[in-house]
Structure formats: C-alpha cells, structure tokens
Symmetry: C2
Subunit: 417 residues, 2 copies
C-alpha cells in the first residue's frame, strides 16, 4: 500500500466518491420505501386513471349538446341516470341527455365531458338547463392522462418521497427494488477519551463526543449504525476492533488516532489489511485536513480527525455523500443536490481564507429587514459549541481568497433528522 | 357542537394550531434524542473543557518569556517535561522553561499559553529557540471557554441536531427530557377506494393512495403512525373506526368522506363525539378547501379531502405543523422555521390566483445560468403525477392576485424523509 500520496482537494475527493460501487438491491414493501433509493427504473404497469373520471361535481354530457349554450339561451338536457362513486353506470349518455356524476365518478359511455353543477339550473327532477358550453374533455381526467401505460416514472437512483410512494400505490406496486442501506461501524479512539457515562472526568480527559455526533449524522443519510465502540489508542486494540467492524459492516468510520506521537496510527492500522487501497490521505480543507479514505475489498474505511468539530464537518462534507453514493444516489454529488438543505444569504462579515484550501465556516442565519444574513461563528476550532450555535456553514472554495461583507453565499444548512 | 362556522384563512388555522397543548415530556437516552424536541431548557452542569487545553501542538510556556522573540533574537527555553494526551502533568512551567504539549493536552500549571511547534527551532534535546512571541491565552482553550458552567445551552422547544447531541455528550448528559412523539391514526375512506393489493381494480374504483402518502408525511414530522385503515364510507363503520383510533392515538387523520351525497360525512361522525369542538370547517386555500379540524378532549381530529393531491398539500401545510406543535416546537410556525426546507427562486411563468384564497402551486426547481428558476407544474388537480414531478411548491398569499414572471418566490421544498 502506498503511503505517499499528495493531499487531495475537496473536489478530487468527491470525484473519487463518484467511482464507488453501489450496494446490492433489495426488495422492500411500499410502507418501508419512503426515503429509500430506487435500484431500477420504474415504469407504469397500467394507466392512471384506468377509466375516465369526472374532476368536478356535475353532469356527464356530450359536449356538442351544450354548444352555444348561455344564460339567455340555455341547453335543455334530460337527466337519465346518476353515477355512484366507485361504480360503473350501465346507462349510456345519449343525445340530449345528461347523467349526474360526482367528482371522481366514472364517466358513462357516450359522454365526453362534464358540465359543472354551478353552470346548470334544475328545471324539475328530470331536467336541467346548461348555461355555459363545455368542450370535449372538459372536467374529465381521461384514461392514462395522469400516468400513461408504460411511462417511465422514476429512474434508478431516485430518492423516494411521500408523493412518489403515492404514485407507486396508485399503480398497485406493493414492493420496490431499492439499494440496501449501508451498515456503518463507528469507532472512536484517543487516550484522552472517556465514556459519556463517566461522572467525574479525570483531569486531562474529556468525554466521548464523536460516537454520538457521527452516529446521528450517519443515520441522517439513511445508513444503519451497527457496532459503536470507544477503542483505546493501542495498535492491537484498533486492529482488532477494525477487523471485527469490517467483517459485518459496509463502512467503518474511525475518528481520532492521529494525535502527536501516534500520528498516522490509522495508517498503521490499514497496513494490517493487505487488501486496503489508500484513496485519500489528507484533504486540502479546513477543518479536517488529516482525513483518510481507504477501500478494503468492498468495504469503505474512513479515518477522521479526533477533534469533534473537524470530525463532524468532514462527515458532513464527505462521509454522508459517500453513504448516499453507496445507496445508488448518483445525483447526490450533482450541484442540484444542494437545493434541499441550502439557502442563499448575504454575508455580513469578512471571511478570510487561504488560496488552495477549501474552508467550511459555520454561520448563523438570520432575517434582517427581509434579507437573509449569514454571520460567521468564529471560535477556536476545538469548540463544539460553535456548531451548536450555528445554523449551517458556508464553503469557501480553494480558488477564492476570502469573501467580502455583502457577498451572496450559499449556506449549507444543518439538517434536523 | 356548532356546525356553522365561517371558512378560515390559512393564517387563522396556523394561529389556532399555536394554541394547542404540548404532549407530555418523557426521558430518552441521548442515543435516541436526535430529532427530538426538548421539553425543558438545558444548562451546563459543568464547564467545557474542565481544564485548560492546548489547541495546537507545541510548547506550554509563560507568555512573558517569549515577549520580543524574533528570528534574529529568539527566546531560549529549556524543555523540562512532556504532556501526554489524557494525563495531567505534575511538572510546573517555570520561568524560562517549556513543556512539550500535544493538541488537546492539559496545560501544565504555571503555563499561560502554547507556542506552536512551527515557531520553535530545536537546539538540542533539552532546548528550543522561540522565534515568535505569544500572548497569554494564545493556543489555549481555557476552562469553560467552550461552554461556561451554568450557561443555558438550549431552550425548551429546541429541535436537537447531531451537534447538539455532541454538546450534551460533552456534558455527560446521558438522557434528556423531550416531548413525546404524537401517535397518529390514519384512516382513509371513500366508496371508490380499494386496497393497494387489489390486482385488477374494478371499473370506477381506484387504489388507496392516502394511507401511504399521509403515513410517509406524518413520519417525516417525527410522529409515530399506529393504526392505519381503509374504512368503508358508512357512518357506523367510520364512527367505530374513529372511536377505536381516538382511544389509543393522539391524532386521527381521516381523509375522504366528503363526496357528493355524503358531503360532511366527517362532520356527522364528529356529532357522535360529545366532547368534539370544531375548530376549523373549511379553509380558504386551494387545493384542500373542505378541511376540518376538531379537538376531541385532548385529541386532535383532522378531516382531509379524499383527493390525494389535496390531502398531501393540506397535510404539509397544516397537519405537519400541528404535529410539531404537539411536540413542543413553538418555533415551527415562525417565519424563520422555513429556512430548513425552502429556496429562493425566480418564477418563470405567470401564476394566476384569486384574491382571498391562499394557493399552493407545485413547481419544478431548476438552475438556469446560475439562477434558480421555479416552473409551475400545471395539471388537473386530481393528478398525483403533478406532485411526483415537482420539487416543491410556491404559496400565493390570500392578498395577492397572482404573480408575474420574474417574481422572486420562496419554494417550499418537498422533504425527503
């Protein structure tokens, strides 16, 4: 395994992620399909609706019988029958006749349109006056007008939303083929880390934050967190924990293991996995430069900084996209993919940055006189409270040397699960 | 129960929702707390960090020993000890001395700052030259500098995100008090509705869509869906299903039951619940005007239109906010609450609208030459495919009579679960 690789740019890392193989497909029941990503395209096995339906309450008629009708010269039609919801009507709409029909009712044969009840005047129980003409097709949803037979509805990689589930329900598709959710192991290491349950934390130690934040983030991306463990900063313990994790998970996210003295501990762990292929060793970003990505057979191994803010930002910027890719969401890395959780804002402070490095800067979003403002949250990088105070972050690309106040920026909002 | 109420505006409905009582609080483990809403404010029971920490690799020093240091006139310091991660060091930093320290290491007594290793030149194993001065506090995170003892971190009603979980972990809070998730029953009715499992749908019938779409939406808002049922359009069957649902759920969402002939079926059902208080009977919106909201004791009863697109839009506009309010998210209805799932876009078609009615218009969002465009998706209201093709919707307020092309609009994006 080559240990000598140049630091990659953020874009290069995202390009590498795009080459990852998808996980296999599995079939899930429609009730469980929302939020999942389609493994195969879906076409309509039948038309929707499968019969012509009224879209308004009124009377099914032959449009030509209403031509020229007006308040002063209404068309007189005889009511011959009534359509009940959910039932076909045996009667045919003949010349000069009308059949009462509710919204959603099945259009009788012979009829080509529906006159809204608002444009009719009842004369007696059997007769109406139509005071406005209709054209063929008016107030009718034709067979296949909503969804045509054989129409491709969703491509592979489509992330199913509630309304998409509705379309599949309409078509009677009780199960769909989606990509399996990645199973992720979260390992945290560091000589200074003690479990959250530690009541009195000894001097020099701090409680484990990363296991909690990374688990919550990874679940946001639809992955399942299996094995979670605090591992002591010891090569044998780390190798054994990683081996166990890789056996039964698709992705291992290890944070820490790169403090002074044990710098590149994570890399040394990788040496014990002969299949390991180092894809990324350092990213030109701040925070989170000492990030590692390796492929171990079909599994993915992320080495994240131990510092909680850096670990969270790298997880958000790279780990979550990798989990979306494994689930087949090819569009996860396209520019359009950012719509869902961004907003445009006006920067109200100067943001310094260094050429050649991508910066992720936490910001508070506020509304000032109708304008959305982004206020950078400065703070020492080790402060977890900076992220808790922020609504999202701004990305300063590598080729930009800082942003001036008044710049329009895209804020990547921290999602709520 | 008064059956005669005037149609409410969308704003009036939201104002009513703000008066709903929160569900009771429950204690959940930190691992399960992400996405939940705090029932009580959280203050810091201890400071973070609870000891002064280095934020850089380098040497713990007394800042005054470096004053005036430069490349031409470096300060010479003797290295007397080394801090290990996670351990206190017994040595004190004395005048003219330095103690090696890693990022995150505990600052030795006597030291007030850390000189970055980059600004030191090793002379021998025991001596360094410092070529740049530090001020007291430089490269040090002081006790309580991240989070002060007793500091109020989150107010009641705060929606916990991954980083907030990280803050709670840092403080050793293994459990938090959050509002209970609402338990929701989803009932769908309509003479024309058959189960999704129906292989050959008879003429005049259509498959049940609402049970699936409403379930997926309601789960998006953090609610638990319990009882789900397709109920025949029969008063006794509906009363019995509602009674069963109200017994064991906080919210009942009934769609359908308002077709011609059975118009106000839902209201007739409410008559059989003496405690029922009708809060809303009709909303000046499109789609979804025939919407009903009632309070039955401490339970909430929503009557939604049967038409799937109308049901989804009303669910999104009113039912989901009501579920957030029940969970204690007072901010769910504030203007700022829309940041998370909106984007600004330029409308590229004219949108007609009627004064006095709030319109929800589905749109496709696309990027055209760096600008985000919103293209309205027109289509007959009964078409479920219009929502599947849309990325979100634009709200045209009641006081606006249509929007011109080129108008800047807020698109409310359809969330992916």
């Amino acid at each position: 395994m080559s240990q000598f690789l140049k630091v990659k740019t953020a874009e290069e890392v995202l390009d590498i992620l795009k080459t990852l193989d998808f996980l296999e497909a599995e079939t899930v029941r429609l009730e469980q399909a929302c939020g999942r990503i389609l493994a195969t395209p879906v076409s309509a096995p039948e038309p929707v609706p499968h019969f012509a339906r009224a879209t308004m309450d009124g009377y099914a008629v032959r449009a030509r019988d209403t031509f020229g009708a007006s308040e002063s010269l209404p068309a007189l039609l005889e009511i011959t029958d009534e359509v009940s919801m959910g039932k076909p009507v045996s009667a045919t709409t003949e010349k000069g006749k009308a059949i009462a029909i509710p919204t959603g009712g099945m259009l009788p044969s012979g009829a080509d349109s529906v006159v809204m009840v608002e444009y009719t005047i009842p004369m007696d129980e059997k007769t109406i006056e139509v005071i406005k003409p209709v054209a063929p097709g008016d107030n009718v949803l034709k067979e296949g007008e909503d969804i045509g037979l054989g129409e491709e509805l969703f491509g592979a990689g489509w992330h199913l939303r509630p309304q998409d589930i509705g379309v599949l329900a309409a078509l009677g598709m009780q199960a769909v083929s989606v990509r399996r959710r990645p199973k992720v192991a979260i390992l945290s290491t560091g000589d200074e880390i003690v479990p959250v349950s530690t009541e009195v934390v000894p001097a020099g130690k701090i409680r484990d934050i990363n296991t909690f934040t990374l688990t919550a983030q990874v679940q946001e991306a639809g992955a399942e967190v299996g094995f979670k463990s605090l591992v002591e900063d010891d090569l044998d313990a780390l190798i054994s924990a990683c081996r166990k994790a890789l056996d039964t998970h698709d992705v291992v996210v290890l944070s820490g293991g790169s403090s002074v003295g044990v710098r590149d501990f994570t890399l040394r762990v990788l040496d014990f996995f002969p299949e390991a292929e180092l894809l990324v060793h350092g990213v030109a970003v701040r925070p989170g430069k000492p990030t590692i990505l390796a492929r171990i057979g079909k599994k993915l191994f992320w080495g994240l900084p131990g510092q909680p803010v850096s670990a969270m930002m790298i997880c958000r910027a790279f780990v979550l996209p990798s989990l979306m890719i494994l689930q087949g969401a090819e569009s996860a890395l396209e520019p359009g993919a950012e719509y869902g959780n961004t907003c445009r804002a006006v920067l109200n402070r100067r943001l310094p940055s260094v050429h050649g490095r991508t910066d992720y800067v936490p910001v508070i979003v506020s509304r000032v006189e109708g304008e959305i403002h982004a206020t950078p949250v400065f703070g020492k990088s080790a402060m977890i409270s900076t992220l808790a105070r922020s609504d999202g972050y701004v990305i300063i690309p590598a080729h930009v040397e800082g942003l001036d106040p008044g710049s329009e920026v895209t804020v990547h909002l921290f999602q709520r699960v």
